[in-house]
């Protein structure tokens, strides 16, 4: 058996589980591991500028590939700096493994220098965690962590590594487990046959069906199956914020995103449906609005790998525990007799109704000759990237504009913090995407507030030549906060305006990148074209947009799904 130190075991086990990139930052407790990293070149380490950045990079890497992202940080502050990133990944069920250094075993509990109980701190925001006690246990812990992170409902897993067990002075036998068996953990993938039959009957009987598709559909790589099923049934399809791209944004059956800032047609279709097929979605409060008024006519079929997601907020009539991909496969033989032709006839009235909602054109907006509208920027981005870019987003109005005005046709193309809503996620996530897809366009849509929450990573971009395209919608305000203050607090803008904005162009240049300032609608398209033409440069587009624009449509609080404001003056 091969003999090696604990530190070498860590690196070797990462290689053996197939890790290509580790996003991290060194410190006392992990110096041995860093030394082991130095003496090999199979596992690539990316040196970030802040551990939160590392966690979002690993997350963006994972979201854009489906592979597990990896983070390596030191104990104490290094570990706690990743907590926001861990919570972000947890809320969106993203597979990620966080290796954190820990003080030597004999000093745990003594408030030693840079000691924090990382397992304890992260407990409510991880799928599982390990505190490794012996060097011999390292390979098994790592193998288990990657298996847990990326099976069932994926999520982040923490591995805490006390410094003494990774000591480079000591050798231990290395054995990587061939099979992983965790006797208490057996995620179900296949649905229950009786339930599948019931679902098939309900779908066949439906006169006003809708497919409601969430992030779970992307995790299960089930886009092709969903498209086929939706076309067979001629059903309208709506995606959640997390599900964008799972069903193509330009497909004629797509009625848009649903929920708080969903389209009128998506929310109307849901509210009036007689049968909802929920695929990997979790009926979260940003979708349902008032649960008591939620979709009163619908027979709800809920497919999810996580039994705890089913009937948590809204009761499912036909619950099916299983992965979206497996369940659709099981469903197929029961719906063989359904053809798009007969469905077209059967759903003619339903589609006529939907077309009427669509004709309201809820996403139309007025352009101006003087000031750039944020929606326009996203449309220009779409045009100049042929709709093919990976678009990562921060959190705020710009996020909603990106979700609504950039139709995503492919899963994993849209990368955003949906569940936690983490400002500062966008840039590092886009970097993770770029590492995974070096030849693709990796763009970030961000705001003047969000971009300043992890702006230090511009330095990492320079170090690794990442040609990210930063599309910053600069409205000189925390726009989404301001929008709520306009609507609910009579326009009292309490601390939602930022004085002393930096000169973002100079800032980009200071970090060694290109900055472009755009102030006028007439310059927008040209500037966007120039930005995209600089293929091997990071370009920071500082685009001055209308400060007074609100995101519409918007659900009215305590109302049904389809009770919405359509503009500053109109409502449903």
């Amino acid at each position: 058996m091969e003999m090696m130190s604990g530190a070498e075991m860590v690196v070797r086990a990462l290689k053996d589980v197939g890790v290509k990139y580790v996003f991290g930052y060194p410190g006392g407790a992990v110096l041995d591991i860093y030394d082991a990293l130095f003496r090999q070149d199979e596992v690539k380490h990316i040196l970030v500028r802040h551990e939160q950045g590392a966690s979002h990079m690993a997350d963006g890497y994972a979201r854009s590939t489906g592979d597990t992202g990896t983070v390596l940080v030191t104990s104490g502050p290094g570990a706690t700096n990743t907590l926001t990133g861990i919570a972000t990944a947890y809320m969106d069920s993203i597979p990620m493994v966080i290796l954190s250094g820990q003080v030597p075993s004999m000093h745990i509990g003594e408030d030693a220098f840079q000691e924090t109980d990382m397992v304890g701190c992260s407990r409510p925001i991880v799928k599982h965690s390990f505190l490794v006690k012996k060097a011999e246990d390292i390979p098994v812990a790592i193998a288990k962590a990657y298996y847990i992170a990326n099976s069932g409902r994926p999520g982040p897993v923490v591995i805490d590594l006390p410094k003494d067990i990774v000591n480079i002075q000591e050798s231990h036998p290395y054995e990587f487990p061939e099979n992983i068996d965790i006797r208490s953990y057996n995620p179900t993938a296949k649905g229950h046959n009786k339930q599948i039959k019931k679902a098939a009957e309900a779908l066949k009987a439906a006169k006003r069906p809708v497919f409601y598709v969430g992030g779970g559909a992307i995790a299960a790589d089930s886009s092709a199956d969903i498209i086929a099923l939706a076309e067979q049934f001629n059903a309208p399809v709506t995606n959640t914020l997390m599900g964008l791209g799972a069903f193509p944004g330009t497909h004629p059956q797509f009625v848009g995103m649903l929920g708080m800032h969903g389209t009128l047609e998506a929310n109307k279709t849901m509210h009036n449906a007689d049968c909802i097929l929920a695929l990997g979605a979790r009926f979260d409060d940003r979708v349902t609005n008032n649960v008591a008024k939620f979709c009163p006519h619908a027979n709800i079929i809920h497919v999810d790998v996580d039994p705890a997601s089913i009937s948590k907020t809204v009761n499912a009539h036909i619950p099916i525990v299983g992965s979206v991909e497996k369940v659709i496969e099981q469903l197929k033989p029961h719906v063989k007799d359904i053809t798009p032709e007969t469905q077209k006839e059967k759903l003619a009235d339903w589609w006529q109704q939907i077309e009427q909602w669509r004709s309201r054109k809820c996403l139309s907006y007025k352009t101006s000759d003087e000031v750039i509208k944020p929606q326009q920027v996203i449309e220009s981005l779409y045009k100049h990237t042929n709709g093919e870019a990976f678009v990562s987003s921060d959190v705020g109005q710009h996020q909603m504009f990106a979700a609504l005005y950039y139709p995503f046709d492919k899963p994993r193309q849209w990368i955003n913090s949906g569940g936690l809503g983490t400002m500062g996620f966008g840039l590092p996530a886009a970097m993770g995407v770029q590492f995974a897809h070096p030849d693709a366009i990796s763009a970030v849509v961000t705001g003047d507030g969000s971009i300043q929450m992890n702006i230090q990573e511009l330095s990492t971009c320079l170090q690794y030549n990442l040609p990210i395209k930063i599309i910053s919608l600069n409205n000189r305000a925390l726009g989404m906060v301001r929008q709520w203050q306009d609507m609910i607090y009579k326009g009292r803008h309490s601390h939602s305006y930022m004085e002393s904005m930096p000169d973002f162009v100079k800032l980009a240049e200071a970090y060694g990148h290109v900055g472009i300032k755009v102030d006028h609608p007439s310059e927008l398209d040209d500037a966007m074209a120039r930005c995209m033409a600089m293929k091997d440069k990071l370009v920071f587009m500082d685009i001055a947009v209308d400060q007074n624009e609100h995101v519409y449509p918007m659900q009215i609080k305590f109302g049904a799904m389809d009770e919405m404001r359509l503009s500053k003056t109109e409502r449903t």
Binding site: V119, P124, S129, L131, P307, A308
Partner: protein, 167 residues
């Protein structure tokens, strides 16, 4: 309808496993009325009995959330099925006079308890049974004497008959 529930959980006997379950209760806003935990006949496993007050929807969520934890094998809700539940209580009461001593002895006998320690000024009593029996004894004792302190184990329970939680 809110009612008392007894959950029985079989989990890996590993550091951190218990804190994950307890964390889940506080994190999701569920109450714990009592908790009883120890290793099983198989020393690699622990068994946990939790009592809580909640409605059907919440108990379904609690059960599912506990089941989701990686080191949990099985969760079962004993409440509605036929089951045995027991709790053990130790109570210390002051015994200033002969009359009080006699009175206490009578109550302890009625409740099938035992006096397990005697000192010049107090008795320590042990009693087992369902929680309401323990409550009743405690009430009775405090009517005739000063209860100095009481320690209860929390409920532990098993389903009756063939049913069992095993891996």
């Amino acid at each position: 309808m809110i009612k008392r529930r007894i959950l029985s959980v079989l989990l890996e006997n590993e550091p951190g496993a218990l804190s994950r379950i307890m964390g889940l209760f506080s994190q999701r806003g569920y109450n714990v009325d009592s908790l009883c935990v120890a290793t099983t006949a198989d020393p690699s496993l622990s068994r946990l009995t939790i009592t809580t007050q909640c409605d059907d929807k919440v108990i379904e969520q609690i059960t599912k959330q506990i089941n989701k934890l990686v080191d949990v094998f099985k969760v079962s809700d004993l409440t509605d099925g036929d089951h045995v539940e027991r709790e053990l209580m130790l109570v210390k009461v002051a015994t200033p006079t002969e009359q009080v001593r006699a009175e206490i002895k009578r109550s302890v006998d009625i409740f099938r308890g035992q006096i397990v320690d005697v000192s010049p000024r107090n008795y320590t009593i042990q009693v087992t049974g369902p929680s309401d029996k323990l409550d009743a004894l405690l009430r009775t004792l405090s009517e005739s004497a000063d209860v100095t302190e009481a320690s209860r184990t929390g409920v532990c329970g098993l389903a009756r008959g063939e049913k069992s939680l095993k891996i």
